[in-house]
């Protein structure tokens, strides 16, 4: 192939006044951006930089800065620099553009158009420092005529760690989140890559996933779990499957997934035993039987246009927990066109599904869990007020563990030890610190949520669930307000 005409995406700036040639950047960059030769000459290969910030963060003299490559194209609102670069990349590679994490586009973010209520004189706010504030929530089928028999998940905080498979993320991510979930009284999700033998003790705190690839699914896997989640779709790439490149399928990954090492792990787009809703009902029933009706069965779907009908069908097919993943949801690798153009915001999907299930009188048969781009405790509060029972977070958890959102997860060269299976990179995430950071994050969110709830005059999370009067929309059209089922500000 001829000379690549694409210029680098980022520029690494080194302050020579500050650089002490200590070589930390050289040793830490898995992309070989930094080089220190024997003459003490430091040189940088900008084109390899992905802006993960590892070098800048670890540089002891703050000598490094990374900026967007300042080479401008002639201004053009239609042919943006990004769209031009994408064409260069495809013209060079002839391949599908891949990207990691969720949809980064500027579509309207409904969380940012919702405001939360607070009590004033007509009723008192509650001080969470002095009064009890209950965050406990139960997930499962709460149909009042059958609850006695239906298994429930008890969450001390209405937050769980969302599915990220071992292989797409490192074992230390799983360890961090498993320990954090246990300490926080909530659950983590194995994702579709099976359970690593080191984590067998944490199985009881795990929601184990059964996805189209059926990786690592066996009776002990199902037994050693808190709940089983059938993954139908993923917010970042609705309608398509997954592909873990062979180079990430290390011995450990191969063991957990029960596939040969160094071979590609392909999750088909559909489950090849689910070609319609009744097939899903059968799989749900099968898993319930396999787990002796002791565990709730969750079904995870991506938020797409006809999500209400899908949700209704899934609930009627027997799902105890319905998970809706919005288009901001992260992923290790997704075709960029799919990620950026398919799916809908989870806020809308949630509002619609909650209302639809209530209208059908089947809301109590399932718990609604949403995921996809939850960034902070206010997002959680808003989701619950819109009708969610609990919220899954993944990207936020990874950021807590050190992720700098460079969106290059699919390369397997994660400098933060997160989206990699290379042992030398994996060890960069110390699970002791990782779990501590994840616990800190959720503890902080919990405090904030308690404050917000106290402000609303509410001291139990179930009184917030579906309490849309606690929300007002700002900068939304009447139609959007109607779809979200909330009033406008000042109403």
């Amino acid at each position: 192939m001829a000379h690549n005409i694409m210029m680098p995406a980022f520029k690494v700036q080194r302050d020579e006044e500050r650089c002490i040639r200590c070589g930390v950047c050289v040793r830490q960059c898995a992309n070989n951006v930094h080089n220190l030769d024997e003459d003490g000459w430091m040189w940088v290969q900008d084109d390899k930089c992905v802006a993960c910030h590892r070098c800048a963060v670890l540089c002891p003299t703050r000598a490094l800065n990374i900026i967007e490559y300042p080479l401008d194209f002639r201004g053009n609102q239609h042919w943006t620099p990004a769209s031009i670069r994408e064409i260069y990349a495809q013209a060079q590679s002839g391949g599908v553009l891949l990207s990691g994490m969720g949809n980064p586009r500027t579509y309207k973010n409904y969380f940012d158009h919702l405001l939360i209520n607070a009590s004033q004189v007509t009723n008192p706010s509650i001080d969470p420092l002095r009064e009890p504030m209950e965050m406990t929530t139960y997930l499962g089928n709460k149909n009042h005529h059958s609850c006695g028999e239906k298994p429930q998940l008890k969450l001390d905080i209405p937050l769980m760690f969302s599915a990220m498979s071992f292989g797409s993320v490192s074992i230390n991510v799983h360890k961090s989140l498993a320990v954090a979930a246990k300490s926080l009284g909530t659950f983590w999700n194995t994702g579709e890559g099976g359970l690593h033998p080191d984590l067998l003790d944490f199985g009881r705190g795990a929601i184990v996933q059964v996805a189209s690839g059926r990786f690592g699914v066996h009776p002990d896997y199902l037994d050693n779990s808190a709940a089983v989640e059938i993954k139908i779709g993923q917010g970042a790439k609705p309608g398509i499957g997954g592909h873990l490149p062979g180079e990430k399928v290390s011995q450990d990954v191969s063991l957990a997934r029960m596939i040969p090492a160094w071979s590609d792990a392909i999750s088909p787009a559909p489950h090849h035993d689910i070609y319609s809703i009744e097939d899903l009902a059968q799989l749900i029933e099968t898993l319930k039987v396999a787990t002796r009706f002791e565990k709730p069965i969750a079904v995870k779907v991506a938020a797409v246009h006809n999500i209400t009908a899908i949700a209704s069908g899934v609930v009627r097919a027997g799902a105890d927990i319905l998970v809706i993943d919005g288009f901001r949801g992260g992923t290790g690798a997704a075709p960029m066109r799919i990620r950026d153009n398919v799916g809908i915001p989870v806020e809308m999907a949630l509002a619609q599904v909650d209302s639809r299930l209530r209208d059908e009188g089947i809301r109590s048969q399932t718990s609604l869990v949403i995921s996809g781009g939850i960034r902070n405790s206010a997002d959680v509060m808003k989701a619950i007020a819109l009708g969610a029972d609990a919220v899954y977070i993944a990207t936020a958890a990874l950021i807590a563990l050190g992720c700098h959102m460079c969106q290059m997860c699919f390369t397997g060269l994660c400098n933060w030890g997160i989206a990699t299976t290379r042992p030398d990179l994996t060890k960069r995430l110390n699970p002791h610190l990782g779990s501590e950071r994840a616990i800190n994050l959720l503890a902080a969110w919990k405090h904030e949520m308690m404050e917000m709830m106290g402000g609303m005059g509410i001291n139990a999370i179930e009184s917030l669930r579906g309490n849309r009067l606690m929300l007002r929309g700002i900068g939304l059209s009447k139609e959007e307000l109607g779809l979200l089922g909330v009033k406008g500000v000042g109403e």
Binding site: S119, T122, N123, H144, S463, L464, G466, N467
Partner: protein, 373 residues
């Protein structure tokens, strides 16, 4: 322009009071008026009302419908609907007296009625459910008509004004009831509407309530799934429906019902059954500050929110049980009670007629919820 109850959610502060003679001996309305009048400052003149039980012994087997009409047309529409569905034994205006401080009163009638057999057969509903649906239909679908009460041998008397003036307006001293509840209202964004005053009732239920429920929307959306339409958008309505759902429809006993609406903290619940109840009916937990008095023909129950953010005092003297927002309101009618106390958060004060065991004497407990062996 200000919107009425039913068009907008209206939070309000209030005074509440209730008196029951547990032997079922009737007594005039003067006592309860004195009681509520003493808490004048807890209302702002935008609503007052009473519920009285045992006032229509001669029509005890009939649903006593107190209905407010905006105009004659509304009454005609409503009566057409009633005669189509009910056999009406007697219909008459509710007697009132002119009162300088009570204005804009609607047309107020009462009907002693029973659902028609053929209608019950056609709809396959029991008469309570049939009547309850009829009440909701009138309130929702017949413009200008509002059912103030609909239970047997009881009635609600409410309107816009201070409660003592409303009591005088309705000539309550002429009624003999063994159980009275009263309400003085301090709403914050209504012009005052007669239908929106309290007590709120459904069939035999009447509820007076003080406070603002922060969980309102969660509660009302939960009730929606059980086919309750909260047309008035008031907390009291939600409370009433919650009791109706739990006790009439789901047939839980008082203790179980209280454990839902003023649920103990998770950490304090040892009973697996109560845990399960809270899991299922978490949506009915009344969160935020309130004190309420719920009454039926069988008696009353007064309860606070679980962290007691609103006042509630109870007292006993012989066969009389008093509950009120303030101790002074009790002392004014009973200076030397045998016992007077302030119940804790979520700890109910129960005053039932001597021969009754439940607020509603209905069929056995709901067994759809498994009980521990």
């Amino acid at each position: 322009m200000l919107l009425n109850e039913g068009q907008v959610r209206i939070p309000s502060g209030c005074a509440i009071a209730g008196i029951i003679n547990r032997q079922g001996q009737g007594f005039g309305g003067g006592k309860i008026i004195d009681c509520i009048a003493n808490m004048h400052q807890r209302s702002n003149g935008l609503g007052g009302g009473f519920a009285a039980y045992g006032i229509y012994p001669g029509f005890a087997e009939y649903y006593a419908l107190h209905i407010y009409f905006d105009c004659k047309e509304s009454r005609n529409d409503c009566e057409r609907y009633l005669t189509k569905n009910f056999n009406i034994r007697l219909q008459e205006p509710v007697p009132v007296r002119k009162q300088a401080r009570v204005n804009n009163a609607p047309i107020i009638w009462r009907y002693f009625a029973q659902p028609k057999e053929e209608c019950l057969a056609y709809t396959q509903l029991d008469e309570h459910e049939f009547t309850a649906r009829a009440v909701m239909h009138i309130n929702a679908a017949i413009p200008g008509a509002f059912v103030a009460s609909s239970g047997h041998n009881m009635g609600a008397f409410k309107g816009v004004g201070y409660p003592e003036d409303i009591g005088e307006f309705f000539r309550l001293e002429d009624y003999q009831a063994y159980l009275w509840t009263a309400h003085g209202r301090f709403p914050t964004n209504t012009p005052g509407w007669w239908g929106g005053a309290h007590p709120f009732t459904l069939l035999e239920w009447s509820v007076v309530h003080n406070g603002e429920i922060s969980s309102y929307d969660a509660n009302q959306r939960f009730l929606q799934m059980h086919e309750y339409r909260c047309t008035l958008q008031t907390d009291t309505e939600v409370i009433t429906y919650s009791f109706d759902l739990l006790m009439r429809k789901e047939r839980f006993n008082l203790a179980e019902t209280i454990s839902v609406i003023a649920a103990p903290f998770w950490s304090d619940i040892n009973d697996e059954r109560i845990k399960r109840l809270r899991r299922i009916y978490g949506g009915l937990l009344l969160n935020g500050p309130f004190s309420i008095i719920v009454a039926t023909g069988n008696g009353l129950i007064a309860v606070n929110d679980r962290i007691k953010l609103r006042p509630l005092v109870a007292a006993r003297k012989g066969e009389f049980l008093y509950v009120a927002s303030e101790e002074s309101a009790i002392r004014v009618v009973e200076a030397h009670p045998d016992e007077i106390w302030s119940p804790g958060g979520g700890e109910p004060v129960i005053g039932l007629l001597a021969d009754r065991e439940n607020l509603l004497d209905l069929a056995p407990h709901n067994d759809s919820i498994a009980r521990p062996a």
